[in-house]
Symmetry: C2
Subunit: 199 residues, 2 copies
């Protein structure tokens, strides 16, 4: 398979690259690194990416920014980054990318644990994750040509606990390599409309 991996240089993305490169052609894509670049918050940048990649068999998105801030200090504007970047950025990878997807191609997006198990400062992350989990479930039933879409919803990563531990006390972290398995299940399996929970 020809697989587009958005966020290939990240902690999750690197582990997904290692897992999938054993069996597939993986194109490394990043904001500023990788073989190709994309700003997922900009639909024009997304379209330019696909014009460069050409047709593909799977897209994996392991990117998305949200604002972490105490709810007491949040205004409407603090939710914009999450909605435009992690949510609509990933949704637009599907809405635009489907034109370039081969029959039976899959889209695998990344949500996360915070809608299932919230933390302080996580209201925007929870909102966006809940939106993504719901979107893949609904979009899957309308996709033509055997196209599929799933989300992977990981808990906090072992590799991230150096900086994230104070925000995730009591959460059992998982290694990125274990999270990467869920992406392989989505890409190489046949399920659609699923949220693969890891941790």
């Amino acid at each position: 398979m020809k697989i587009l991996l958005i966020g290939a240089s990240g902690t999750v993305g690197s582990a997904v690259a290692t897992e999938l490169a054993q069996r597939h052609e993986v194109i490394h894509i990043g904001r500023n690194s990788g073989e190709l670049q994309v700003d997922i918050s900009d639909p024009t940048s997304i379209r330019r990416l696909f014009e460069q990649t050409g047709r593909f068999d799977a897209l994996v998105s392991a990117v998305g920014s949200v604002t972490f801030k105490a709810l007491g200090e949040m205004t409407s504007d603090d939710f914009t980054l999450g909605l435009q970047n992690k949510l609509m950025g990933q949704v637009n990878l599907l809405l635009i990318g489907r034109e370039f997807a081969n029959d039976g191609a899959s889209f695998t997006l990344t949500s996360g644990i915070l809608n299932r198990d919230p933390i302080r400062t996580g209201a925007s992350a929870a909102m966006v994750n809940g939106a993504l989990d719901a979107f893949v479930k609904a979009a899957a039933i309308e996709l033509p040509r055997g196209l599929r879409v799933n989300a992977v919803s990981p808990t906090v990563l072992e590799e991230a606990m150096g900086s994230y531990a104070p925000y995730f006390r009591g959460y059992k972290p998982v290694p990125a390599a274990e999270v990467a398995l869920a992406y392989a299940k989505s890409v190489e399996g046949l399920q659609t409309g699923q949220v693969f929970i890891v941790g």
Copy 2:
């Protein structure tokens, strides 16, 4: 209790008004009708509303617009209405309204069945409902002063089946009066961070 009811003239709102007016002072608020008006997609309009209502004990929102459209015809822009109106409109009722809420006041927002049980043309509705269900769960743990927030997630209404039936074949509709009970549970009970599913 002094209860602000946004969307008081709608099918759900009317039933909620009937249920709550038996025991409470209910202020009827609408886009163009009611005692006071608000455009929930406009934070300035929301702030003006609360300056008119003054302090309150409960806010019920039974409003929110989304775009229904076949996924194959949807672009990024088709998700904007749902994100700005039903999602951030209701979230802003809390973000702005909390300044005017008495200690222990509750916010009850409205999501809906489509993230749990999707239909054709429902991708934006599913996204927004999933976002709302997640937001109330996350926001609830950060609210101060005993403030509470819940969502009510109803299936299709019996009263709406005249026009909605073709989109909801096989769905068991519920009467608006039954949906109204979930709002009373949220307002008059003590739970927070919950999604009350009806139907």
